[in-house]
Symmetry: C2
Subunit: 233 residues, 2 copies
């Protein structure tokens, strides 16, 4: 393949993702498009079109699509192709259940294992930027929220938990985004976040668990009713 620049790959990739190899590039770009709803849920993904658009061949593209389908961000049927994963109420309910199982326990472990440096990082990320007057801030808000939750899990020092939560947060992003796009009150979670950091700072595992549980359940319920009302899923 030639060494021409691929402008379409530079795009809006967030600084958190630092792809190096071609399949990673493609994966990051497609994931970004999906999570930001730049491509609609259930929209079909045609290999050939994506290849031409991204100026790559099918091999690295398919690798990226396979990864995305494993993370259930795209659905796949043999010989029938790939689609952007749909958003369903049942799926979101399962997602909330998963998060409310894993993250509170991870927060409890974080309370036991977090270093002073960890706690400073958490505190810095606890307050979310949210400015209703700017449209662009929606996506940034979601991403900042994800970063905080990921940072908490990271304090538990268990990469397996980290991967699970990372994937769960990715799946959580679209419903959050759709809901905020319609109903302007994100129910500012910054205070909850600071309460979680407080508990971790005091090494109070039980408190960290409880606050995180209530935070996830509360936010999840609000998004779920919004989705139901808007008949999105």
């Amino acid at each position: 393949m030639s060494t021409v620049v691929r402008p379409s790959l530079i795009e809006i990739a967030p600084q958190s993702m630092r792809p190096t190899a071609l399949p990673d590039h493609v994966y990051a770009v497609l994931k970004q498009r999906i999570l930001s709803c730049a491509v609609q849920p259930n929209e079909r993904l045609i290999e050939k079109k994506l290849c031409e658009e991204l100026r790559i061949s099918r091999t690295p593209l398919r690798e990226a699509l396979n990864r995305l389908s494993h993370e259930e961000l795209v659905s796949f049927q043999p010989h029938a192709g790939y689609r952007v994963a749909g958003i369903t109420l049942a799926g979101f309910r399962n997602l909330i259940e998963l998060r409310s199982i894993v993250e509170p326990q991870a927060a409890a472990l974080a309370a036991e294992r977090a270093t002073p440096g960890d706690i400073a990082a958490l505190r810095a990320q606890a307050t979310l930027p949210y400015d209703p007057s700017e449209d662009r801030s929606f996506v940034q808000y979601c991403q900042a929220n994800s970063r905080f939750h990921l940072l908490v899990v990271r304090c538990a020092r268990n990469p397996m938990l980290e991967n699970i939560v990372m994937s769960a947060l990715d799946m959580y992003q679209r419903p959050t985004y759709l809901r905020i796009g319609r109903q302007m009150d994100p129910g500012n979670p910054s205070s909850k976040h600071h309460a979680i950091v407080d508990a971790i700072e005091q090494h109070d595992a039980e408190a960290a668990r409880k606050v995180m549980y209530r935070h996830i359940r509360g936010g999840g319920e609000r998004i779920m009713t919004a989705l139901r009302d808007a008949r999105i899923a």
Copy 2:
């Protein structure tokens, strides 16, 4: 590709896996070889050799290898190739932690949601076949144990939890197998399994959670000390 039979693909694939497409075949065969330690931990996996051996091309093989590396059963470095994942004490500790977070909660949900049919299926799978005189029964024992734990999670009616536990059980198999292969007492878990089914049958979520937690922690600790003593990891 020609339509000749591929004898190497039929092999020892367990009946639980029903692969249809070529990448699924390959995935199942490789996974089986890895989990049964037919290929050693850290052993290198050369694409060309596997292609010739399995009579397939590199495309479906690479798809299978990618899946396996995503499940952390094989490790991968760009341009340096694939290896069977190694077994480390830290990794196993993380795995126990993950299981002891997810499975007890899943058991609690199972106690709330299991149908009479579910409970009958659990009861049927609770007693594990173990005959120390037969070498072959080791693998079967491990698989039967995995099936029981998977069946419990299935009662929670949450496919995401199911996938996580399925992957965790796969990763758990090799340490279990290695340990039993050295030290003959598997510490018969059948009684614990029946206690779990009892709790689920009585819809006692709290009891189900506690028994499952102790079961996983106990078994995990025993395997971990055995690994440490044998200097496997």
